[in-house]
């Protein structure tokens, strides 16, 4: 099975992250840049499928040149090779444009299965897997907590708030995963050494036949007009129980529309 895993480099969600003051995009200098956490689960799932069924695992990343570091780390977990879509014109691309570029790159890779994290910790829009499947004309199995493969039949358990749904499709397909699906491996020294020698192919927009005007800040379908720091947490509201604490609590919950 030919598997492509989408890997995005994001600012470390454990650190304080900022947006740039000039164009409201992510300030990549404000925190250390790491592999989007959920994508590590997608890589692990791909490697387990490869171990069980054979085939090849390719990492696909769209991002600035600095993303090469995350690609190398992803490769040190075990995938065979990587494709890095890198082009200055991509800066500030929206999800819609990103899906266009990734779909074009996937067009060159002949994947049976595209695996990705269910969301990225920076954008958190969760729509990319669906957009990508739509552009590729394949099934989208999203939010998987479990994936089983039987020949060309894919079955996932889609995690929901209440439990899970069983969803099936045939390859080729796009599958997005949550962090409940597995426990990603830590790169071993052998993996780290081997990653140095693995091929990483760089592709520009020109290589993919995508016009610069369709992507980046100018081609974005939405624009961030301004941003400000989240206000510090206020003290909250204290309810003192003088015989009617329960009523006051319910009133609070109703007013805030929690119930």
């Amino acid at each position: 099975m030919n598997i492509v895993v989408l890997v995005k480099q994001v600012p470390d969600s454990g650190a304080e992250r900022n947006l740039r003051t000039d164009d409201n995009t992510v300030d990549r200098g404000s925190a250390s840049n790491v592999i989007n956490e959920m994508d590590e689960y997608a890589i692990e799932e791909a490697l387990r499928i490869q171990e069980a069924h054979g085939g090849e695992v390719t990492i696909l990343t769209m991002g600035p040149s600095g993303a090469a570091e995350s690609i190398r780390k992803a490769l040190s977990m075990g995938p065979d090779k990587a494709v890095h879509v890198v082009d200055d014109a991509l800066h500030g691309s929206c999800a819609l444009a990103t899906s266009k570029v990734l779909a074009a790159a996937l067009g060159t890779l002949n994947a049976d299965l595209v695996l990705c994290g269910a969301e990225s910790t920076d954008g958190r829009v969760q729509v990319l897997p669906h957009m990508l499947a739509e552009r590729l004309g394949v099934a989208a199995l999203t939010g998987a907590r479990k994936l089983t493969i039987d020949g060309s039949a894919l079955t996932i358990e889609r995690q929901t708030d209440e439990g899970y749904e069983v969803v099936t499709a045939q390859t080729p397909a796009v599958v997005s995963v949550w962090d409940t699906i597995n426990e990603p491996r830590y790169p071993s020294f052998k993996g780290i050494m081997a990653a140095k020698k693995k091929p990483v192919q760089a592709l520009s927009l020109g290589d993919l036949g995508v016009a610069p005007s369709e992507v980046g800040l100018d081609g974005a379908s939405s624009a961030v007009v301004e941003h400000s720091k989240r206000p510090p947490r206020s003290g909250g509201q204290k309810v003192t129980d003088e015989g009617e604490g329960g009523v006051k609590l319910v009133e609070f919950l109703a007013t805030e529309k929690f119930v």
Partner: protein
């Protein structure tokens, strides 16, 4: 200073230590239980095979890679770090360095994968660094060694996955009239080989340490490790290397003290401000960082010399001496920065304090390191 691969390994182990070791280790420490699940995961990421070639199931890394790993583990917990250090430096390394092809093929794949652990039985109840005092005897009876004696403070000797102990024993008289020392492999479960109950230790409470007794314990003659009579030379080599590893482990503990103290000094308030705003605390932590950094340079230097094939005896002793004494000082100071909480076992610095002292003792006391340094200076 580190190359890209060593830096990536350091990062990988650091993530592992924080995400896998840190959440569970206090519980193991309190109940003196061996962290099998952590060890299994360390095996999965190849840590037990780090400095061994791939043909033996290893990772093809060097001794420096092992030292970096020990440092990052000990930055979070020393029990786990010493388990790895002993498993590699004292357990698998003698087999790799001195074993026959058969011995290597039989034992190394299990050891380098972390599926099994090996221990090294040198110290005895009556002697430590004065290895000439060895009382344990092995006599060749037909095609079997018959071993009698006991060993003390042997790390990794009594876990459920311990596969063997290499034991140093007197096997005769050397041509110069001194004791002839040899090293013999004793598989776990051999009749006559008894693992005594674990010690009640001040620190390293989640590591496995036992006294071992041998009563007419018989193993095949083929279990001799390396040449007969080379036991002394073998363990000198093993101990010289091991000192660099212990230095790395001590640097990890010293750095862990800095990590915890910086964090706490920002959180804890006294007299209206964070205690980290007071120069008394700042200077303590600055001195701690200075010791950790300097000790790190010392072990980097010793490791670099060893890997370059140069003489490294003095540098390894200097690194071990300075790093272990730095660890003890940093642990004392970190506990002081934490005040009353530093005396509570639930705080990592309390563990660091308890774990630090043995670093001045194990694999050659500070006094022995000074002897080695002085001797190397021609005194």
């Amino acid at each position: 200073m580190l190359n890209e691969e060593h830096e990536a390994l350091r990062q990988s182990v650091r993530d592992f230590a924080r995400e896998v070791v840190a959440p569970v280790i206090a519980e193991h420490y309190e109940h003196h239980t061996f962290p099998y699940d952590v060890v299994r995961q360390m095996g999965k990421m190849g840590l037990f095979g780090l400095p061994f070639p791939e043909e033996h199931g290893g990772m093809g890394g060097d001794y420096f890679a092992l030292c970096l790993t020990l440092e990052e583990l000990a930055r979070v917990d020393s029990s786990v770090a010493i388990t790895l250090e002993a498993a590699i430096s004292l357990g698998a390394m003698p087999i790799y360095r001195f074993g026959t092809d058969e011995q290597k093929a039989h034992w190394l794949p299990k050891l380098t994968s972390g599926e099994a652990l090996a221990a090294f039985g040198l110290t005895e109840p009556g002697f430590g660094s004065d290895a000439g005092g060895t009382q344990t005897r092995a006599v060749l009876d037909g095609d079997e060694w018959v071993i009698n004696g006991s060993k003390a403070f042997i790390t990794n000797s009594g876990t459920d996955i311990t596969a063997l102990v290499t034991v140093t024993a007197v096997t005769g008289v050397a041509p110069d009239g001194s004791k002839e020392l040899s090293t013999i492999i004793v598989p776990s479960g051999t009749p006559g080989f008894t693992v005594q109950p674990g010690y009640s230790k001040v620190g390293w409470c989640a590591s496995d340490t036992h006294e071992l007794t041998f009563e007419d314990c018989r193993v095949p003659a083929a279990n001799l490790l390396g040449e007969r009579g080379r036991g002394f030379a073998q363990f000198l080599r093993i101990l010289d290397e091991g000192r660099i590893a212990i230095a790395a482990l001590a640097v990890g503990l010293a750095q862990g003290c800095v990590d915890e103290s910086v964090k706490y000094a920002k959180e804890r308030h006294a007299f209206g401000k964070a205690i980290g705003d007071f120069q008394a605390i700042q200077f303590k932590i600055a001195d701690m960082e200075t010791r950790a950094h300097t000790a790190r340079l010392a072990y980097y230097d010793a490791a670099e010399r060893m890997l370059a094939g140069q003489d490294f005896k003095r540098q390894a002793a200097i690194a071990k001496l300075y790093a272990s004494e730095s660890a003890v000082t940093n642990a004392r100071e970190a506990t002081q920065v934490h005040g009353g909480y530093g005396f509570m076992n639930e705080f990592p610095v309390a563990r660091f304090w308890r774990d630090s002292k043995v670093l001045e003792i194990g694999e050659g006391t500070s006094e022995v390191q000074r002897m080695i340094i002085a001797r190397d200076l021609g005194l």
